[in-house]
Amino acid sequence: MSNLAPLNEAIKKGNRNEAKRLVTEAIAAKLPPREILDAMVAAMDEIGARFQRNEVFVPEMLIASRAMKEALAILEPTLVKAGITPEFTAVIGTVQGDLHDIGKNLVAMMWKGANFAVVDLGTNVSPEAFVKAAQEHKAKIVGLSGLLTTTMPAMKQAVEALRKAGLPGLKVMIGGAPITAEFAKEIGADGFSPDAASAVDLARKLAVA
């Protein structure tokens, strides 16, 4: 793992060119693809934890996520060949009536960084669109983002629609500025995370639950 430390570091620093160069080298050196991936995912986990502690902020998160995304794209064919696929599929979107997307995008990036397949539906997403995407992509997790108190009812409607669709094993997570754990309970969601780092931990936990 120690020879993968520079790759891990390049992702944490958001140095995308360095990250792409190092992942290419690691593939050429025939390092086990799983190890390469783990080193990269560990970098994003650490960046997420630092963000949670207010040690790094949105700009640093964004450049780290971009370095991760670009390096992961290079590694992807190797992963496929080795039979390593994303852990599961997660659908995410901002609920109907709401256009805020910075937080939702960060969660989507962190999920991609954690090696989940992510389907990002964008903003102003209707309950039906969440259901359709969850069915189509056989999602394990659906993430709803909402930043307005006035769109919290839309979140409830989306949860209800997903429940009604009766998708086996599907877990619904919610987040956003006014959202609390109590609200998640109240509307029957499976979980709430206050930030992008804990959104990764929670998704991992819920996906196996």
Binding site: G14, N54, V56, F57, V58, P59, E60, L62, I63, R66, L99, I102, G103, N105, N124, T149, T150, A177, P178, P194, D195
Partner: protein, 359 residues
């Protein structure tokens, strides 16, 4: 104490000197006013502010655009057309139906486009403030004895509106000179507009500058990055206000606890609206900073939204007690009153503000 005029009251609050009652102001979502009209409000937000006996008067609205009044067609098909609006946003509009346009992105998403097109466009737009209208609004405010303030958007909000949130924040990390250039350019333009307003001979009491630099848990960027890239232009606004014997009020949403020392260093006189669910609490801030800075707002709309008067009363009583100890507290919700709040409830809020705000 004998009753003061609004101007006297707010001026004393900003000087941290005794006054008769807590000064007041408020903002509302448009949907809130629509709801209240159905519930018996006669008039609009103006009438609510009269009922609250607001002490503040805005005399202008300044958000300079690169292409004022100039929307351009970028492409079209049978159903839609894509336009570049006066701010440079790319929007898809439906030809045969109404509805919110789809937001496709920002035309200005690289330093090259900024330097070749947007910066020159900004420099060429000329005045975007209407000095005559500003003077009229000033006279109206003075006629009512209110504390009159100029308004402007600051450079971080404006940068995000020109190049988008993500490009802005990536550039802060990777191309800080670009961000500095945008911030300085738009601040120059704002100050030129404010100078033009002052050239009419008005003497407002304050400058209110708004621009969100934080969210629920923290500032968007680190305090060091803020100090390096944006703060110098925030300080220019504060210095400009002070050079014109005005107070400087800064509006930002979100958790800015980690930036308050920098605000004080730049000479900010007041912070607004102090968003509660983002961890801003004057009961903690006043003991620490109350002798150096006035606090404006912080009454939690989440406490109002369930229309539970006991909860609201506790919120107002406890926050007012903390704020009034400093002689420098002004009532406002912690952002703007949302449409879950009934007109009945808001009328009760006004009464509570009157009851607990008496010195």
């Amino acid at each position: 104490m004998t009753k003061l005029t609004s101007q006297e009251r707010v001026s004393r609050a900003f000087a941290h000197k005794p006054h008769d009652r807590v000064p007041r102001s408020e903002s509302f979502w448009p949907d809130t006013i629509t709801r209240w009209k159905k519930e018996g409000l006669m008039g609009g937000s103006r009438e609510v502010l009269e009922l609250l006996e607001t002490d503040f008067h805005n005399i202008n609205w300044l958000w300079p655009r690169p292409f004022p009044g100039d929307e351009q067609l970028v492409s079209e098909d049978a159903e839609t057309h894509v336009v570049r609006d006066e701010s440079g946003r790319l929007l898809r509009r439906w030809k045969h139906k109404s509805g919110t346009p789809e937001h496709l992105g920002f035309e200005c998403d690289s330093r090259e486009i900024w330097e070749k097109k947007y910066k020159p466009a900004f420099m060429e737009t000329g005045l975007q403030i209407n000095p005559a209208a500003t003077m009229r609004a000033y006279r109206e405010g003075r006629g009512k004895g209110r504390w009159c303030m100029l308004n402007a958007v600051e450079s971080f909000e404006q940068t995000r509106a020109i190049i988008g949130d993500e490009v802005t924040m990536i550039a802060m990390a990777e191309d800080p000179d670009w961000v500095r250039d945008i911030s300085q350019t738009v601040t120059d333009i704002a100050l030129q507009n404010l100078d033009a307003a002052m050239a009419t001979g008005i003497t407002p009491d304050g400058l209110f500058v708004y621009g969100d630099m934080a969210f629920k848990t923290a500032t968007f960027c680190s305090p060091q990055m803020y100090k390096d890239l944006i703060w110098p232009d925030h300080k220019r606004f504060a210095d400009w206000a002070h050079a014109h014997r005005m107070k400087f009020i800064y509006h930002t949403d979100g958790n800015v606890n980690n930036a308050i020392d920098l605000y004080l260093e730049a000479g900010f006189d007041c912070l607004q609206p102090l968003e509660c669910k983002a961890g801003m609490d004057i009961r903690k801030l006043c003991p620490k900073y109350g002798d150096k800075m006035a606090f404006f707002g912080n009454i939690d709309v989440m406490a109002m939204k369930d229309n539970n008067l006991a909860v609201i009363e506790h919120e107002i009583a406890s926050k007012f007690a903390a704020g009034m100890k400093t002689n420098a507290y002004i009532y406002h919700s912690d952002h703007s009153v949302p449409p879950q709040v009934s007109w009945e409830t808001y009328k009760a809020v006004i009464e509570l503000v009157k009851k607990y705000g008496q010195y």
